[in-house]
């Protein structure tokens, strides 16, 4: 199937047209992202914008000794490593539950998608009401005799933002999984049923294999969205949140505001490098796992 698409041979004019189509975007990306990013790389290698002395990797080594930076990296990494797989697993679970015969399915779907509609800032207000020191959740905890927790200002803040992230993104991920589940050929499942395969076997050996491209896709989408959670955290706590909520984005924003471009550039380049490595790993994983399904 794929090879056929790849090997379509056309006349030269048509080929040129398809190349021209890519051009506007390529030029735009060059001007607005690629070329300025090269300047950022250059910035990360000089001492300051006035003297422009080449200092090698000094900015980077300084960065590694920066307490705020290492703290931010730890928090961001922790948040992504916990929340991204969690959102994949939970949304897949929800999608499989909704696959059953359940009354009012489409209404549920709308409910799960509703977080997309609500403006971020309003939501943040609601979350504040819920997780405030004297807020709803603490009132419930106290009602049942527990000790109240200052959610946002304590290490539990991570729990709050993971909840926010899941609340916002599960719905759409679930939709993606639902359509992928629908696309699994029925006859294969039927054959497995006839052969008396257990539902666990069907899940691992049939469904997961067909879902693997979608899992990868949702994984990437969740990664992008996990970096966007900064918006909520920022609105919730401002520029200088408590230790556990201090994200890499805070660090970069604050360095930007203090005009320390060298530090910021080095951080941006490092971030980009890490992303390239992660994406390369995912690409290899896709080549290994995705082949026979296509």
């Amino acid at each position: 199937m794929k090879n056929k698409t790849r090997n379509q041979c056309g006349r030269r004019g048509e080929r040129v047209f398809s190349n021209i189509c890519v051009m506007p975007s390529l030029i735009g990306v060059m001007i607005f992202f690629f070329i300025p990013f090269c300047i950022v790389i250059y910035y990360s290698l000089i001492n300051n914008p006035v003297l422009k002395d080449f200092v090698g990797l000094q900015n980077y080594t300084k960065l590694f000794h920066n307490v705020a930076f290492t703290k931010a990296v730890k928090n961001t990494a922790f948040f992504s490593i916990v929340s991204v797989p969690l959102s994949v697993v939970l949304s897949l679970g929800l999608a499989m539950l909704l696959e059953r015969k359940i009354p009012g399915k489409s209404i549920f779907r709308t409910f799960f998608l509703s977080p997309l509609m609500v403006p971020t800032a309003s939501v943040v207000l609601v979350w504040q009401v819920l997780f405030h020191n004297h807020g709803t959740i603490n009132q419930i905890i106290e009602h049942f005799g527990g000790n109240s927790i200052d959610w946002i200002k304590s290490p539990y803040g991570q729990v709050v933002i993971i909840c926010m992230f899941l609340w916002k993104n599960l719905g759409y991920n679930m939709i993606l999984f639902m359509s992928a589940l629908c696309a699994i050929p029925r006859d294969i499942i039927e054959v497995a049923d006839l052969e008396g395969a257990s539902s666990w076997y069907k899940f691992v050996h049939i469904k997961l294999r067909y879902l693997s491209p979608t899992i990868l896709f949702v994984l990437i989408l969740s990664m992008i969205n996990s970096f966007k959670i900064f918006r909520e955290v920022y609105l919730l706590t401002g520029n200088y949140p408590q230790d556990k909520l201090y994200m890499l984005q805070h660090f970069m924003n604050n360095t930007f505001n203090s005009l320390d471009y060298q530090k910021l550039s080095a951080a941006a380049v490092l971030f980009a490098l890490v992303m390239i490595v992660i994406m390369a790993i995912l690409l290899i994983a896709e080549n290994i796992f995705g082949k026979d399904v296509e």
């Binding site: 189509c21 975007s25 629908c182 979608t214 930007f256 980009a272």
Partner: protein, 301 residues
């Protein structure tokens, strides 16, 4: 034997009920903030500051005596009133102006990003070659970057072209954001070659193939991607803060977050007003969002 079968059936039924209850609970939890925002928008400002005032105690220091320390979550207003809406829509032009600011930022971004995306995805999915797949991979990397990484590049370009403090500084880079290209390319690559070949036999030009085959076939995907892009930029916060110093031009999404700490009595009504475009879009496009897309493949597409 028969008894056992019945047992299994019964167990299955019980399981179904449990699943139903679980999903119902989860769905209600998901809907909860939306309902809360809506319900609270019909309260009087006084009622709201009485309920939530203690969250911003530094501002209500003098009133503290008659505001309870607890934050009270309330769904049903003591008295249903449109006072908040009146204040937002009629008495103060600030909110409507910021709303308009959001519109003239988000609509062009969405529109032009989709145009660029349709062209580019078409280019990527027809006659793929090594060069194109390298660019595509680079786009994915770019797409995944948080805004803070592209913040300096954006700032540099805006400074260079003297666009700082103008809307162009936000709109232009956003148009070329590769998110929609990534999604749409995946969809377009799934269009069967036979469609294209049939059209070619009828003498269709490449432009015709794009406008008469690719775009109609991808309509659902295009609508749903446009919705995602719109929602993303409708809620933008970072870009205006960095690239536009004058709060006069800030979109309501930025302003909304500042109301939260200031005039909290109006925050819910403003939130609801700000929700209107996305709700309308959902009414129109939810089916597309649900059915329009089956992206297969993670990276290569």
């Amino acid at each position: 034997m028969k008894l056992k079968m019945l047992d299994i059936k019964k167990r299955r039924k019980i399981f179904d009920v449990i699943v139903f209850i679980f999903i119902l609970t989860a769905a209600i939890l998901f809907l909860f903030p939306t309902v809360l925002t809506l319900a609270n928008s019909f309260m009087t400002s006084n009622e709201i500051s009485a309920n939530y005032g203690s969250m911003f105690s530094n501002m209500t220091e003098d009133k503290k005596t008659f505001i309870s320390q607890n934050v009270n979550l309330k769904f049903i207003p003591d008295k249903v009133t449109f006072a908040q809406y009146k204040a937002v829509l009629v008495q103060n032009s600030d909110y409507l102006m910021k709303f308009w600011n959001s519109v003239i930022l988000t609509v062009p971004i969405t529109l032009f990003q989709m145009i660029v995306a349709i062209l580019t995805s078409y280019g990527f999915s027809r006659y793929p070659n090594k060069f194109k797949s390298i660019i595509f991979f680079a786009y994915i990397i770019l797409m995944i970057m948080p805004y803070q990484v592209t913040l300096v590049p954006n700032f540099l370009v805006a400074e260079k072209f003297h666009m700082l403090d103008t809307r162009r500084a936000i709109i232009l880079p956003a148009i070329f954001s590769p998110f929609s290209i990534f999604l749409l390319t995946k969809v377009m690559r799934r269009i069967p070659v036979s469609y294209v070949e049939a059209a070619k036999l009828d003498g269709a030009s490449e432009l015709k193939i794009l406008t008469k085959i690719y775009v109609p076939l991808c309509k659902g995907a295009i609508v749903s991607i446009a919705m995602l892009v719109f929602i993303d930029y409708w809620n933008m916060v970072e870009q205006p803060l960095v690239l536009m110093k004058d709060p006069l031009y800030h979109p309501l999404s930025v302003f909304l977050s500042q109301i939260n700490t200031g005039d909290i009595g109006l925050a819910f009504a403003v939130g609801v007003v700000y929700m209107i475009p996305t709700v309308l879009m959902f009414l129109y496009g939810e089916d597309y969002l649900v059915e329009g897309i089956t992206y297969s493949g993670g990276i290569k597409g």
